[in-house]
Amino acid sequence: MKVVVDEEHKGQIPATINKLSFLSRTLNNRTALLYLLPSIVLFSVFVFYPMFKTVYLSFFLTDLQGRPAEFVGLENFQYLIQSESFHKSIKATLLFVLYTVPISIVTALFLAIIANEKLKGIGVFRTLFSSTMGMSVAASSVIWLFLFHPSIGAINRLLSIFNIQAIEWLVDPSWALISISITTIWMNTGFTFLILLGGLQNIDENLYESASIDGASFWYKMRRITIPMLSPTLFFIITITLINAFQTFGQVDILTKGGPAESTNLIVYSIYREAFINYQFGTASAQAIVLFFFILIVTILQFKFGEKRVFYQ
């Protein structure tokens, strides 16, 4: 529409435009909302509603169906603070995170660097290294269940060749968490490897060539080129791995069921037991809230201190 302004009508025109464009002004927003609608609905049903429900439930004692029975305020949280079992669970979770995250990343980084070479048949290795990504938690756990078997497991057999005494991988309280960690690291490797390899391939080959003409050593290139150029990818994968580690459930359920002596009772497994075995939905919800803040704080800390070292192109 073309608006011609002459002297006489100059004063009236802005009002007309405002009136006419009221609908068209909001048109963009309404269109945007329409596009967002599917994800808003999905998120509301599967994320926002359960989240608020969890917060709500954490202030209640519940009956066996999980319906709120009695408002108890912060008692559920007080109970957790005093609970020996919950302390153990937190400690196991933190240890688990400490074991799995750095080793997963370093292993995957190592594999990504060696698989980044342009060699004949390198595709085979890239496929192999990333293959654990395509395996379900259940399947991988079952594989490791066999490997860890005290008498017929491959690991103990291998150890016996070197005359090392058989280890009760999943039954010994001092080994169980380590066994779960090994399984998890193995499972993490595929995805982490793939992401890091992608990051490495994005680095301009000429940078390395220029550095080798300058006489830079492998470690010098690693420190001055690879790590800084890979930092956004590293930051992303560390965040993801960290969050995943806090939320580990499947392998614990299949391999140890939180035992022995609660040594592998990671927090999500503990929540599950509290809710669906002990039917204490109130305290389970309280634990979930604690976990939520744990992850939130760790992620905030990471962004605060980690992101400074990240170089974005």
Binding site: D204, N206, A211, S212, I213, D214, R224, I225, Q313
Partner: protein, 373 residues
Amino acid sequence: MKKVELVQISKSYNHHTNVLENINVSIEPGEFFVLVGPSGCGKSTLLRMIAGLEDISQGKLFIGGHHANLLRPSQRGISFVFQNYALYPHLTVAENIVFGLQAQKVPKNERNKRCIEVADMLGLIPFLKRKPRELSGGQRQRVALARSIVSQAPICLMDEPLSNLDAKLRSHMRSEIKQIQRRLGLTMIYVTHDQVEAMTMGDRIMVLNEGKIQQIGDPLQIYNHPANAFVAQFIGSPPMNLIPATFNKQKQTIQIEYHHEILVPLHDVRNISNEDIIVGIRPEDIHLARNEPIHFQIEVVNVEVLGTETIISFKIKDQQWSMKWNGQWRIAIGDRIPISLDYQVLSIFDSKTGTALKNAKADTHYKINEVNL
């Protein structure tokens, strides 16, 4: 200053076909040597082989008299400027410049001294604290140059360093690079696909096509005496006009189309053995025919007025030719103009091999001027 010698060098990626074949050349100390050719001719590969970034499949490379085939890039005494500059995006200009010195554990004082020196030479002092992404294309190019100069390597290799710059900056950097090379006495090996860069910068030029050397020589030699039709057409702007023709031995004439005949002088008749030939003529050698008996009528299809010269395009036998006349001409598209083709300025090539049978007599039309004071 160091000499670089290539003896019988070949490169193959699959053991069957050679991407580079039988390259023999000796690059003198302090020389500005240009490798020029169309894209995919193997010129960058050759440069990377000299740098040690690619293996040499066959032949020998000598740098400063030493056999260098198996030396690592850092042991060859070279610096390299990449087409995309290969600047470290996470480091500042200063850190970029001293990256190599740091890798070689040069003491900090000297590092800084050399960095300042080079930055001063290239006018980079105000930008030392900036990151590459905060620089313009020309400034990045200077950082890449600075990084190569600061290494004090006697041989400098450049791989199309100016191709990412706009035309104006490019012509400025051409003379700047040339001056730096002279001042520091570097042995320069410079790869480009741009024949203007080759002509203006090189002390000597090597023209490559399909992995084979077409010609090596100084710019004027290559322009005036192209070894074959490829070189003739590749060097020069607009390129040399080429057209298939037949040579009639009895009549001693070259026949272009049916009615265009050019008489061949007796002493040249025996030099031309073939019947099928390619005739070439530089755009600046085609003149307006004034009262000359033998001339061509052409119809103008395009005119480009450049101020000091005028480029006129016309069609001969489905081929577009162009001619370059000095000064300003008022010519309209569709005009019919008589032109003369003088035998003296014709180049004649074998139509099968492309080899030059006769070059244009440069001295009749271009006198190479000299300033004597």
